[in-house]
C-alpha cells in the first residue's frame, strides 16, 4: 500500500462469521491504488462479524471485520449483552499489510488528550474507570485523585458488570468436563494489578512442572463498554515493575477504548479477573482453554482482599493448588 492511500476497495472475504482462523490466514482482499492485496489475520481467532461488504470503498483505519481471540470468545459468552464489539478490529490499514510488522505491545497512552496524575491512572485502571469520562478539576485540566475518587463507573460498563455479576454469581462452569478445584485466601489490599500480575507470574515460573508453555502469559480481564478485553502480559515477572505498572495502566485505558495492541491478545497461560469493582468477594475462577490456572481478586474490606485460585486437576493436585496460592499470597 502506498503512503498516500486513503481508501481501498474491498474485493471479497475469504472467511465467514464463525470461522476459526490462524495467524497468517488470508481474511480478505483489498484493491489498492497499485495492486490487489491479501490481508492476513494478525493472530489466531474467530470471525465475529463482517462489517463491510464486497465492493465497499473503505477508509484507511475503518473496520472491515471483527475478530476475537479464543479467550475473548469465552469472555464474551459471560455476558447477556451481545454487542458485537471486539478488541481486534482487522482494518484496511497499513498496519496489517504484509510488509509492515504487526503493532507490538508498548506502554502507549492512547487517549493522549487526557492528562492525569500517575496515581489517578493506576487507581482508574484498578477500579475500571475510563479516565475520559472523568471531569478534570486540576491545574491545566489535569485529572487529580479527588476527581477519580468522585468518579462513577461508565454506565455502559456498569450495565455489563451487572449482567456479568448475575451470571458469575450463579457459578457458571465454563470448562465442562475438566476436574478442577478452587482455593481462597484473604490478603492485605496493598497491591495493584501490576504487582499482582508480576507476583503471580513469578509463582508460576517457579513451578515449571505445571508449565504447558515456554513462557508465562497473564491475561487480565478488563471491562469496557465494548465488552471484556483480555490483554496478555508476557513474562511480567521479568519486567521492570515501574515499567510494568505504567504498561498495565496504559493498556487498561487502551482496552476501555477497545484498542488493545494485537500482539497482546494471544499467549495467555493464566487469567486474572479483578472482581473488586463488582463489589464481589470471590467467584470460582473459570479455567480458559489451554490454561491450568485462573485467579480472581475480590473485595473483602477496605484493607483486605480475597484471592481465589482454580487449578486443573489433570495437571496438579489439591496440595499443589494450596501451595501455589500460599506462594502467591506470601509474595504480595
Amino acid at each position: 500500500m502506498s503512503m498516500t492511500m486513503e481508501t481501498g476497495e474491498l474485493i471479497n472475504f475469504h472467511v465467514a462469521v464463525g470461522d476459526h482462523v490462524k495467524n497468517g490466514d488470508v481474511l480478505f482482499e483489498v484493491m489498492t491504488d497499485k495492486i490487489d492485496m491479501e490481508v492476513e489475520a494478525p493472530a489466531d481467532g474467530v470471525i465475529e462479524a463482517l462489517v463491510a461488504n464486497p465492493g465497499d470503498v473503505v477508509e484507511i483505519g475503518k473496520p472491515v471485520l471483527i475478530m476475537l481471540t479464543e479467550t475473548e470468545v469465552m469472555a464474551f459468552d459471560f455476558g447477556t449483552d451481545n454487542e458485537p464489539v471486539a478488541a481486534v478490529e482487522v482494518v484496511a490499514a497499513p498496519v496489517v499489510a504484509p510488509v509492515v510488522p504487526v503493532v507490538v505491545a508498548a506502554p502507549v497512552i492512547l487517549n493522549e488528550t487526557v492528562k492525569a496524575v500517575p496515581k489517578a491512572r493506576v487507581e482508574a485502571a484498578n477500579r475500571g474507570i475510563d479516565l475520559r469520562t472523568v471531569r478534570a478539576t486540576g491545574p491545566d485540566r489535569t485529572i487529580m485523585m479527588e476527581d477519580v475518587n468522585g468518579a462513577q463507573l461508565d454506565p455502559a460498563i456498569a450495565k455489563r458488570q451487572a449482567a456479568n455479576k448475575a451470571l458469575i454469581a450463579k457459578g457458571i462452569e465454563m470448562t465442562r468436563g475438566v476436574a478442577q478445584a478452587s482455593f481462597t485466601r484473604s490478603v492485605k489490599a496493598n497491591f495493584d494489578h501490576a504487582t499482582f500480575i508480576a507476583a503471580w507470574a513469578k509463582v508460576l515460573r517457579n513451578r515449571p512442572d505445571l508449565a504447558v508453555h515456554q513462557h508465562v502469559g497473564v491475561a487480565l480481564i478488563i471491562e469496557s463498554k465494548y465488552g471484556s478485553a483480555l490483554p496478555v502480559f508476557r513474562d511480567p515477572d521479568q519486567a521492570n515493575l515501574a515499567e510494568l505498572t505504567i504498561l498495565v495502566a496504559s493498556i487498561t485505558e487502551a482496552a476501555k477504548s477497545g484498542k488493545v495492541p494485537v500482539a497482546m491478545l494471544s499467549g495467555a497461560t493464566t487469567t486474572v479477573f479483578d472482581l473488586t469493582s463488582y463489589s464481589m468477594s470471590s467467584a470460582t475462577p473459570l479455567l480458559f482453554p489451554n490454561q491450568v490456572t485462573s485467579v480472581t481478586i475480590g473485595y473483602e474490606s477496605a484493607t483486605t482482599k480475597i484471592v481465589s485460585l482454580t487449578i486443573d486437576l489433570n495437571f496438579c493436585d489439591f496440595y499443589d493448588g494450596a501451595l501455589l496460592l500460599d506462594a502467591l499470597v506470601a509474595s504480595l
Binding site: V117, P118, K119, A120, R121, V122, G138, P139, M144, M145, E146, D192, A194, T195, L241, A242, T245, I246, A249
Partner: protein, 332 residues
C-alpha cells in the same frame, strides 16, 4: 545540654580533634588552617593543641595541597584537606577526580586513598561569583568519590568522623552560612559516628515530602514549622550523603504523601537534586504521585555580588513556603 548546642564550625573542629586523638595518622593541611585558625575559624586552636606537624599551613597551591594529601593517604596517613573555598577545588580537580577517585581501581584494589577533603561552599556572604558556588554535582558525578553535605552541627560531627574512617576519598561540603549557627539538636559527646549513605527523615508528615540538601534543610524546616500551624504536615528528608545516595526513605515517604518537592541552593540545571527526581520517576513509587514534582533550585546564573540579587538567585524561605503551599492546595 545547652553547652552541647555547638555551631557547625565547633562540631567539625571537635570531630577533627577526636580523630587526631584516636589516630596518629590523621593530620590537617590547607591554606591558613594553622596559626590563623582557618579562613572561617574551623580549625581554631588546633595548631596550638597539636602542633605544626599535624596542622600544616600550606602555600596557595590547591593542586599541590591535594596532591600531597593523596600521596600521604597512599603512604598510610589519613589526611584531612581544607580547601578555603570550594570554588578553588577547580585548581585541584586532576588530583581529586583522576587520582584520588581512581587509584584504587587503576591498581586493582591494591591501594586506597583514605582522604577527606573539607571545603566551604554556598552563597549569602557577599563574596560574589568566584566564592559562592555549590559545586556538589561536580563531585557527585565522579565515581570513586563519596560526597557528604551536612546540614547541621550534630550530623557534621558524626559524618566527618565516619568520613575519616572511610577508606575512600570523601568530599565534605560545608555551607559557610551554617558555620556560626547552632543546630536544633545538641551535638553528642564523644566519638560517635553517623554512617555515610543513610538519609535522615528530619520530620514526618502526611501531605508533602520535601527532599532538601545543606542549608536548604534548615530553610525547609522553618517552612514545615509554619505550615504545620496551618494543618499542612510535611515529611522533610535530608540525604546528608549525596553519593552514595539513599533513596529508600524518599520512596517510602512519597508512597504515603503522593507529593514530592526537592530543594537545593545550587543551579537547577544538571543539579544534584535532579537525581532524586530521576530515581523517583523510574521507581514503582512513581505511581503514588498525585501531583507533579516541584523543583526549587538556584537560578542558572553566576551568583551576583549585589546582596538583593544574591538573595534572589537562590531559594529563600518565602519561595519554599509558597511552593509547598501551592502543591498541597492545588493537587488533591
Amino acid at each position: 545540654m545547652s553547652d552541647r548546642m555547638l555551631t557547625m564550625a565547633e562540631a567539625v573542629r571537635e570531630a577533627m580533634s577526636i580523630a587526631f586523638d584516636e589516630r596518629p595518622e590523621v593530620f590537617l593541611l590547607g591554606e591558613d588552617v594553622g596559626i590563623y585558625g582557618g579562613a572561617f575559624g574551623v580549625s581554631g586552636d588546633m595548631y596550638h593543641r597539636y602542633g605544626a606537624e599535624r596542622v600544616l599551613d600550606t602555600p596557595i597551591a590547591e593542586l599541590g595541597i591535594v596532591g600531597a594529601a593523596v600521596g600521604a593517604a597512599l603512604s598510610g596517613m589519613r589526611p584531612i584537606v581544607e580547601i578555603q573555598f570550594s570554588d578553588f577545588t577547580a585548581q585541584a580537580m586532576d588530583q581529586i577526580a583522576n587520582q584520588a577517585a581512581k587509584i584504587h581501581f587503576m591498581l586493582g584494589g591494591a591501594l586506597h586513598v583514605p582522604m577527606v577533603l573539607r571545603t566551604p561552599q554556598g552563597s549569602g556572604t557577599g563574596a560574589a561569583a568566584q566564592h559562592s558556588q555549590n559545586l556538589e554535582p561536580w563531585f557527585a558525578s565522579v565515581p570513586g568519590l563519596k560526597v557528604v553535605v551536612p546540614s547541621n552541627p550534630a550530623d557534621a560531627k558524626g559524618l566527618l568522623l565516619a568520613a575519616i574512617d572511610d577508606p575512600n576519598p570523601v568530599i565534605f561540603l560545608e555551607h559557610k552560612l551554617l558555620y556560626k549557627i547552632p543546630g536544633r539538636d545538641p551535638v553528642l559527646e564523644g566519638s560517635t559516628r553517623i554512617p555515610l549513605g543513610v538519609s535522615k527523615v528530619v520530620r514526618e508528615g502526611k501531605d508533602l515530602t520535601i527532599v532538601a540538601t545543606g542549608i536548604m534543610v534548615n530553610k525547609s524546616w522553618e517552612v514545615c514549622e509554619k505550615l504545620a500551624a496551618e494543618g499542612i504536615s510535611i515529611t522533610l528528608i535530608d540525604p546528608r550523603t549525596i553519593s552514595p545516595l539513599d533513596m529508600n526513605p524518599v520512596f517510602e515517604s512519597v508512597e504515603k504523601t503522593g507529593r514530592l518537592m526537592v530543594v537545593q541552593e545550587g543551579p537547577a540545571q544538571a543539579g544534584f537534586i535532579n537525581e532524586v527526581i530521576a530515581q523517583l520517576a523510574g521507581s514503582s513509587s512513581f505511581g503514588s504521585l498525585i501531583a507533579p514534582i516541584k523543583r526549587l533550585a538556584g537560578m542558572n546564573i553566576p551568583i551576583p555580588y549585589a546582596p538583593q540579587l544574591e538573595k534572589a538567585a537562590v531559594p529563600q524561605f518565602d519561595d519554599i513556603e509558597a511552593a509547598a503551599r501551592e502543591i498541597v492546595k492545588n493537587w488533591r
